[in-house]
């Protein structure tokens, strides 16, 4: 039995910020996701008592970089910043312009 249905799919779509109005595509999504989630049921048979979760790929810990001052001016990072700003779809001066968050 799958744990996903029309209603929960709707909720997931809103959480993931994806609009999907096409009923046929929503149906296919639901079908695919249910099938994949059903497949995951095999994990239930694995005994994981007292097993520490493996959260990442690395065994390194506490890796820090020393603080350094970065300039906005004419250096590599300044150049990078300029190029990033050029990518904004709408801007005012050097700021990214977006529609209102609250109305």
């Amino acid at each position: 039995m799958s744990e996903i249905n029309e209603k929960s799919l709707e909720y997931l779509l809103s959480l993931a910020r994806i609009e999907e109005k096409d009923a046929k595509r929503r149906g296919k999504l639901l079908k695919d996701l249910s099938k994949i989630l059903d497949y995951f049921n095999e994990l239930k048979e694995v005994n994981t008592e007292n097993v520490e979760p493996l959260s990442g790929g690395t065994f390194l810990t506490d890796i820090m970089r020393s603080d350094e001052k970065k300039y906005r001016g004419n250096n590599e990072h300044g150049e990078q910043r300029k190029k990033s700003i050029e990518q904004f779809s709408r801007k005012e001066n050097d700021y990214l312009k977006i529609p209102p968050v609250f109305e």
């Binding site: 744990e3 996903i4 929960s8 799919l9 997931l12 779509l13 809103s14 959480l15 993931a16 910020r17 994806i18 609009e19 999907e20 109005k21 999504l29 695919d32 996701l33 099938k35 994949i36 989630l37 497949y39 995951f40 095999e42 994990l43 694995v46 994981t48 097993v51 520490e52 979760p53 493996l54 959260s55 990442g56 790929g57 690395t58 390194l60 890796i63 820090m64 970089r65 590599e76 150049e79 990078q80 910043r81 300029k82 190029k83 990033s84 050029e86 990518q87 904004f88 779809s89 709408r90 990214l96 977006i98 529609p99 209102p100 968050v101 109305e103």
Partner: protein
């Protein structure tokens, strides 16, 4: 054309040394050939012709002083389009990044530039590297050079096809669950997935950050090693990179190859493999045995859970990584105006219109497994199973207790499949990663190389993989080089 199918980085360097051709001539020929072939194969998404030719001309001036010291001097390469080259497009084959131009170089690109490689262009991939056939690209299909009705594998299908079709001498890909090793196998070339932390991920468009690694494609193990050596090493910009010293990774003579004990994991051989793959694998193992290697059966008991484990962890990480693509910050796709009446509806509309089916599926899957009420049953459970899988490998490699030095396994359950064969059923597509996924979950290095040269005589290529200990690329590369040069090159 002065190069043939067997042209390698090694031969290219010899040609340059004896001044048989100039870099400008060579790069010009490669570009001309690649652009023509691309109409059929579709390996490249865009070429950077002017830049490449400019570089070539500059390098011809420096050849006297720099050829010896720069291991990739003038070598024409293709770069997977999820890796940033400053000033060039980096689309990750997604509509949502259609017009994005990278603002900086990935560390791997900086390293290749330091060693003076030349980039011919950016290669096709599955959208955000999600897929096993490159059919999920939002822009174009890539075809297998050995049979254009078939896929090149994926997600780094463009890079694999480019090298196999002689459109470049080497390429970079990324491997999250097999995306270098499987396309290398479908296209009959060499691909290396390095240890997690061996190569900096700074400047790669992240898919699943605990699994992703960048690695090389090439025609020989030696060539792949040259590229790996260039890109590997610690990077301040990626705190997961290790400080392992790779400066002697190409000294294969240091490795007493014949003393290596090879493990064959029995769980990889219980059904699921197509007859042609099974036959090629049997023959490859037989070659090792006949040559005097100690080959023994080992057990990796949790292998069968790898797929479930991976397809929980990957979407969870991907759903977080892809949250930043909103059609606002990294340029807007042409057909979107970029903005709607309010911010929320802008996000919904842009992402709804510009993310393809597979990213959509995986983002939703990730959102689901991380959501309240399901976290423990899916995500936490998968992380525990991931630990068990790592423990299986560590036990297998435990030399003191009768462990092995390297593991030999198939790369993919079948040879390259037909275009369109698996696009309707995501689960059947996922199953084509079943042999490569465990290596990513455990963070190990895996080298994918052809079992034989039979594919030159009209058959489809079949690769096997050599899996090594963490940060022990040298052993698997030396062993791979031995297999390639001594056991099938005769």
């Amino acid at each position: 054309m002065f190069f043939d199918k067997n042209f390698t980085i090694e031969k290219y360097r010899q040609g340059l040394k004896s001044r048989k051709f100039s870099i400008t001539e060579a790069v010009g020929e490669f570009l001309g050939y690649a652009k023509k072939e691309n109409e059929k194969i579709g390996a490249f998404l865009h070429f950077s012709e002017d830049e490449a030719l400019f570089q070539a001309k500059e390098m011809d001036k420096d050849i006297e002083s720099e050829l010896e010291v720069s291991p990739l001097f003038g070598v024409p390469m293709g770069i997977k389009d999820n890796i940033l080259i400053s000033g060039q497009k980096a689309t990750a084959a997604s509509k949502i990044l259609e017009n994005y131009v990278a603002s900086y170089d990935a560390t791997v690109i900086k390293n290749l530039k330091r060693d003076r490689a030349i980039f011919l262009g950016k290669t096709n991939l599955d959208e955000f590297a999600m897929g096993s056939s490159t059919e999920n690209s939002a822009f174009q299909l890539t075809r297998n050079p050995y049979d254009i009705s078939r896929v090149p594998g994926g997600s780094s299908g463009g890079s694999a096809a480019a090298v196999a079709a002689n459109m470049a001498l080497g390429a970079l890909g990324s491997d999250t669950g097999g995306s270098i090793r499987q396309p290398a196998g479908f296209c009959g070339i060499v691909g290396l997935k390095p240890t997690y932390g061996a190569v900096s991920r700074y400047g790669v468009i992240a898919l699943a950050s605990s699994l992703d690694q960048i690695g090389p494609f090439a025609k020989t193990v030696k060539d792949a090693t040259v590229i790996f050596k260039s890109i590997a090493g610690h990077d301040d910009m990626d705190s997961t990179t290790s400080d392992t010293d790779y400066s002697k990774v190409d000294n294969f003579n240091d490795v007493e190859v014949k003393k290596l004990v090879i493990g064959i994991p029995k769980e990889y051989f219980i059904g699921g493999m197509s007859p042609e793959v099974e036959k090629e694998m049997d023959e490859a193992i037989g070659r090792m045995r006949r040559d005097g290697f100690e080959v023994k059966e080992i057990s990796l008991p949790n292998t069968k859970y790898a797929l479930s484990c991976y397809y929980i962890i990957l979407p969870a990480e991907a759903s977080a990584n892809l949250a930043r693509y909103d059609g606002i910050r990294y340029s807007a796709p042409a057909e979107l105006k970029g903005m709607d009446i309010n911010l929320l509806s802008t996000y919904l509309k842009n992402r709804g219109a510009a993310l393809g089916d597979e990213p959509r599926r995986r983002i939703l899957l990730g959102t689901f497994v991380l959501s309240s009420g399901y976290y423990d049953a899916y995500y936490a459970k998968a992380q525990k199973v991931r630990r068990l899988m790592l423990d299986d490998f560590l036990k297998a490699f435990d030399k003191v207790n009768g462990g092995v030095d390297a593991i030999m396994a198939p790369v993919a359950p079948s040879t390259a499949f037909k275009i369109g064969e698996k696009t309707d059923d995501p689960l059947s597509m996922y199953l084509s990663d079943i042999f490569t996924i465990p290596v990513n979950l455990a963070g190990l290095p895996g080298l994918s190389l052809p079992t034989s040269k039979n594919f030159i005589k009209g058959k489809l290529p079949v690769n096997f993989q050599i899996i090594g200990r963490h940060f022990d690329e040298k052993t698997i590369l030396a062993l791979g080089n031995y297999y390639e040069t001594q056991l099938i090159n005769g």
